[in-house]
């Protein structure tokens, strides 16, 4: 129970966590994942630069790590999975779409126990990271120039989404701590929050105690530590309670945690909202990114006791997840 929320309100919190998987190469190409400290745009290839004509090839190791994580989170592995394209224009997105998963994620319907309570896991899926923008000058709007660094483009991300089962800032933090421990134990990720391996976003809302309906939520971003997660949720619950108690309504929006100010602040929908006009659209599933998973997952489950996990394998009419030529590195 959150200390800041009076007994009239119940906190309802769901989490979306992006985990950088501990693979040696990127999600769809052979570039290394240890790009930190490298000069901008030096850890790239035609595929993660999104050059004309290039095609993605699924990283087998990333799929293995996802399946391991999903099984550890008691998820159902889906028999068939595919990747989709999230289309939007932004300079850190070299293809004009992010490869992610919409309707057929690799796994669904799991749970994790946090402090004696079950938190339901909605889905766990794979996607690729974007590059980053470096803004010249002191602030975004005074600089005049933004530079694009694509070293991070195509890094493998696993997204873990929970149901709104958490009831306090402490719950949210405990969930993230528990998740980090689990991911480290199975070797899926180094899961260092400070290094951005584990990026937590909290969907936070309040409702009158006893109500079954969900209130209007805000999405909290830019959270770089467990402490920040706790404080951001705590702050936001208090803020929302004040809004509601003064007869106002919570606005559905994305809010960023400001470490300097120790408060959440309304974010422009993305840096420079005026430059981000197009809503993401679902793209066609890339034909090269369809795979049958189930047999591989069963083997992985069976092998959990002893032998090395096996990767997903072929099913009739689907595409095998293959090892790519340029990296036995996995």
């Amino acid at each position: 129970m959150s200390s800041v929320v009076g007994s009239d309100w119940e906190a309802v919190i769901g989490m979306e966590v992006h985990v950088q998987l501990a693979t040696r190469s990127k999600m769809f190409c052979g570039c290394a994942t240890d790009y930190l400290g490298k000069p901008p745009n030096s850890n790239v290839c035609p595929v993660c630069l999104g050059l004309p004509g290039t095609l993605p090839v699924i990283n087998r190791k990333a799929v293995e790590l996802l399946l391991k994580s999903a099984l550890a989170l008691n998820c159902e592995i889906q028999e068939f999975t595919k990747f989709d394209r999230k289309n939007y224009f932004y300079p850190d997105l070299p293809k004009g779409y992010q490869i992610s998963q919409y309707d057929l994620p690799m796994s669904r319907n799991g749970w994790i126990e946090v402090a004696g309570k079950r938190v339901r896991i909605t889905r766990v899926h794979l996607e690729e990271d974007t590059g980053r923008l470096v803004h010249a000058g002191d602030s975004l709007h005074s600089g005049g120039v933004s530079m694009v660094d694509l070293n991070r483009s195509g890094m493998p991300l696993m997204e873990i989404v929970t149901e709104p089962d958490l009831r306090s800032a402490a719950d949210a933090r405990d969930y993230a701590v528990e998740l980090r421990a689990l991911l480290r134990t199975i070797g899926a990720s180094e899961a260092e929050m400070e290094k951005g391996h584990l990026r937590a976003e909290a969907n936070v809302s309040l409702r009158p105690r006893g109500s079954e309906q969900l209130g209007v939520k805000t999405e909290l971003k830019n959270i770089n530590s467990f402490r920040a997660l706790f404080r951001a949720v705590e702050f936001e619950l208090k803020r929302q309670a004040e809004v509601l108690e003064s007869g106002g309504q919570v606005v559905q929006e994305t809010r960023g945690w400001s470490e300097a100010e120790q408060r959440t602040v309304t974010q422009r929908s993305k840096e420079g909202a005026e430059d981000y006009p197009l809503l993401p659209r679902a793209g066609p599933a890339a034909p090269e990114l369809r795979a049958g998973l189930h047999r591989g997952a069963s083997r992985l489950a069976a092998g959990a006791a002893g032998s090395a996990p096996r990767a997903p394998c072929r099913r009739a009419g689907t595409v095998r997840v293959r090892r790519r030529p340029d990296h036995g590195r996995g």
Partner: protein
């Protein structure tokens, strides 16, 4: 002398090269002379690569002299459709938006041909991003048909087709998404082929519609086509849809005695079929019958819906595939734009031609939320029905034969004002793309002095059957792809 050299098939050139009757450099010289003489009127090439070609020809001669590692394509002049990324060469997909883009890598098929020792003469014109059926949608200029320069060579691979038909290259690479190899092959009297989806790697092919894009060659004989296919086909770890299954072309020359050839009723009743084409194809069927084939009528009942499904699926996929051309990383951009959004809008408005913009809008609409199920998903269901039509037809025959194009080459400008009339050019070819099946076009008797093509479609993974039928027709009819006198 040079005229004689530029009319040869790959097999004949290879024969002369290996006997050292001609060198690869001489062969290249002959083709460059021919290009100098005729391409001013045909405009098949967007750019020539003389330095690259010379280096490759010299290397081929060293290989031939040493007699070591000589491949059937070593020293053979090749024209490459401008949609295949070629390392160190400007590759623009026929679009202004990619002007100045020099590819830092080779498409897999280009790499394989480079390795085989083929000589890259230049990059050929095409409809912008391969969207079109006449090469008039090129962002640069239209290409003219070598058989009648007032007419189109077909498209989108019109430059490649014209280069082979005019003796400016012994063979060429094309891509086929709705008929873009077979239709120009028919309109220029060349042999054009695309294999089963996934037989040839798409890595490095600038994507138009990922689930429909196929790669294949233009040649002047079916044997040459088989030679090129044997070189470019096969598993590529960089393309996850490219399957690992041997391509067995040993029986291509075995004849068609006892083979059952299906005539789809709907393909013979298609609207706009010209009498000359009908007659030429009818004669070709007689030849096939005399060569021992049994002709059976089959049905592809969903043919009518093919065009509609195609014009949902292809634009939807292209709207996503072409998103990367945003002026941020390469190609055209607007240095004066006052904002990122203005740069996007100006770059894409300036860089894309009207047909590409039309398809981007259609595709964006078809994928937008609320319409995805009604359009894209429904079109994909129709596609499944079309595949099923072919499966059922192949239960009754070994291969399907028909005209490739309902018309001969049309006049430049004749259909540019009417997109729908242009789309109808592909009505007989796009079924094989929607179903991912091998499709061949071989020249039949000319109609009114203009080339006509016979299309052969075979079951998935059975490229050999289509080529076998084409080869048998070539032999029995005595009609082979000729080089246009210009």
């Amino acid at each position: 002398m040079s005229g004689a050299l530029t009319s040869l098939t790959i097999a004949q050139m290879h024969d002369r090269l290996t006997r050292r009757e001609v060198s690869a450099v001489e062969l290249l010289d002959a083709h460059e002379e021919r290009i100098d003489a005729v391409d001013g009127g045909i405009k098949a090439f967007l750019r020539l690569t003389p330095d690259l070609a010379r280096g490759q020809a010299e290397a081929a001669d060293r290989r031939l002299a040493a007699g070591d590692g000589v491949h059937a394509l070593t020293g053979i002049p090749l024209a490459i459709k401008d949609v295949f990324c070629t390392q160190g060469v400007e590759t623009t997909a026929g679009s202004r938006i990619l002007a100045g883009f020099i590819s830092p890598y080779d498409a897999t098929v280009v790499a394989r041909l480079r390795q085989a020792g083929a000589v890259f003469v230049g990059m050929t014109n095409c409809d912008e991003f391969a969207m079109g059926s006449s090469t008039e949608n090129s962002g640069y200029w239209p290409t003219h048909n070598p058989w009648d320069p007032t007419r189109v060579p077909g498209g989108s691979s019109g430059g490649s087709a014209a280069a082979v038909a005019a003796g400016m290259a012994a063979f060429a690479l094309g891509s086929d998404t709705g008929g873009s190899i077979r239709q120009p092959a028919a309109l220029t009297g060349t042999v054009g082929f695309k294999a089963t989806y996934g037989r040839v790697s798409r890595y490095g092919l600038i994507a138009f519609a990922s689930s429909l894009d196929h790669v294949g060659p233009f040649t002047r004989s079916v044997d040459d086509c088989a030679t090129v296919m044997a070189t470019i086909a096969g598993h590529d770890p960089l393309d996850a849809t490219c399957f690992d299954r041997p391509l067995d072309l040993d029986r291509v020359g075995a004849g068609i005695k006892g083979m059952r050839l299906g005539l789809p009723r709907e393909y013979f009743e298609v609207a706009g079929m010209e009498e000359g084409v009908q007659r030429s194809v009818g004669d070709a069927l007689e030849v096939l019958k005399e060569a021992g084939a049994e002709l059976v009528e089959v049905s592809l009942p969903h043919t009518d819906y093919g065009l509609a499904a195609y014009y949902i699926v292809a634009p939807a996929e292209c709207s996503s595939n072409l998103a990367r051309f945003d002026g941020v990383k390469y190609g055209l951009h607007d240095p004066g734009a006052e904002s990122l959004l203005a740069n996007y809008l100006n770059t894409r408005r300036e860089g894309f031609g009207p047909e590409v913009r039309r398809r981007l809008m259609l595709g964006t609409y078809a994928l937008s939320s609320g319409y995805y199920d009604a359009y894209y998903l429904k079109a994909m269901k129709v596609r499944t029905l079309i595949k099923r039509d072919f499966d059922e037809a192949f239960a009754r025959c070994d291969a399907i034969v028909s005209a490739t194009s309902p018309t001969v080459a049309f006049k430049i400008g004749e259909k540019t004002g009417d997109p729908y009339a242009m789309y109808l050019c592909d009505v007989l070819t796009l079924g094989a793309d929607l179903a991912g099946l091998p499709g061949l076009s071989v020249p039949t008797a000319a109609a009114g002095g203009l080339p006509v093509g016979l299309q052969v479609v075979s079951p998935q993974f059975r490229e050999d059957l289509a080529l076998q039928v084409g080869r048998a027709y070539e032999q029995a009819s005595g009609i082979t792809a000729e080089v246009a006198r210009l």
